[in-house]
Symmetry: C2
Subunit: 226 residues, 2 copies
């Protein structure tokens, strides 16, 4: 059995960033040493889960989908509540986008750590990034560092959270995906906030993705294949 | 509206410790400033949820039950998996009781913090304790301190996790409940690992509870009322 320190679990959302992380993990640990986990938390668009499964299949790694019913029960965010419209507007009270679920990434990573614990895996890989994101405090490096310490203490294991995209711009993330051979898989990813395929091209998520590919001078396989 | 720093959310399991914490919070913040949250995570005995609701009703505070389906999906522990027997034996690999769910308290407290965030509450109260417990690394003070820092960074709010029982023995916890007027509520609590009511008196949880009451020289209202 491979040393558990040499195996990795990638939190795969089915989007561009986590797919890039998957190829980063495959490059670092080898295809046979990488697993992926996806969370079904009642997101607005089920297509994200389908994309995660397709990306994993295309890459040749396993994908486990874990249910999370608690976030929807907590309510009050536009990603899980169909009564709240999607908007790029900031909430006047919190200064955060109205797609924000307090501590959502803390939950995802804690579950990923528990799952990895069961599998004997000690490396977690997540696509959170400080750059190009505004206002998600659970994506910042200092939060991830604090969470890693909490997980190490709370699970008594030497888990490491890898964040290869933390300080990359969208342009640099596209270039990283290219360098790791991850571009073809981008055709199976999902980014559009409106759940459209081909993507709407109008929402903030589509615009941010398009900007990254444009600045890198690379055609987006998702758009060109559509 | 009351200052959010003067409101508290108690994580109420329906057991002796969290009920003591409820009375600690009522004593400190006042009855009107205290809410409780209980997690339905697929525990072996539904009676725990009923007890939490009864304790809250008896005390005169609200109780919200949030579902958590993820822990059962992660599987492999005797609290949620009926195929695994309950035992006080330690797992030979981990040195932990086989009732251990990796990071379970991290999950509970992160959800409690997210719920408190929605309610505008900044004080969380939990009955975790280092004393009388062996091997649950997510109950230790250093883990709770690290988690508090993680939640503050990840949710950008000044949440405080109060652990009034952290360094108390079971005897001292019983005495604290008495001093706070919390003894009558103990008749509605649940402790027995075997889910029996009246309690079996034989399982490790029943034995630990009985020892605490005996050492404090106080009759357990749960046993005397049975």
């Amino acid at each position: 059995m491979q040393d558990e320190k040499q195996k990795a679990l990638v939190v795969l959302s089915g989007g561009q960033d986590s797919t890039t992380c998957l190829y980063w993990a495959i490059d670092r640990y080898g295809l046979a040493a990488v697993d992926t986990v996806t969370f079904d938390y009642g997101q607005r668009h089920h297509i994200e889960l389908d994309c995660a499964a397709k990306v994993a299949e295309f890459a040749g790694v396993s994908n486990t989908c874990l249910p999370i019913d608690t976030l929807a029960a907590l309510g009050g965010d536009s990603l899980t509540d169909p009564e709240i419209g999607v908007s790029s507007e900031m909430d006047a009270d919190t200064g955060l986008p109205n797609t924000f679920v307090p501590g959502r990434n803390l939950i995802f990573l804690t579950y990923a750590a528990a799952f990895a614990y069961r599998l004997g895996i000690r490396n977690l890989v997540t696509g959170v990034a400080q750059t190009d994101y505004s206002g998600y405090p659970d994506c910042r490096e200092e939060t991830i560092v604090a969470l890693q310490e909490t997980l190490r203490l709370g699970m008594e294991c030497d888990v490491t959270i890898h964040t290869p995209l933390m300080h990359l711009s969208k342009k640099e993330t596209v270039e990283l995906a290219r360098d790791l051979g991850g571009l073809p898989a981008m055709a199976y990813t999902h980014t559009c906030y409106n759940g459209e395929r081909p993507p709407c091209g109008q929402c903030p998520a589509c615009e941010l993705r398009a900007k990254g590919f444009a600045e890198a001078g690379i055609a987006d396989p998702l758009v060109t294949s559509a």
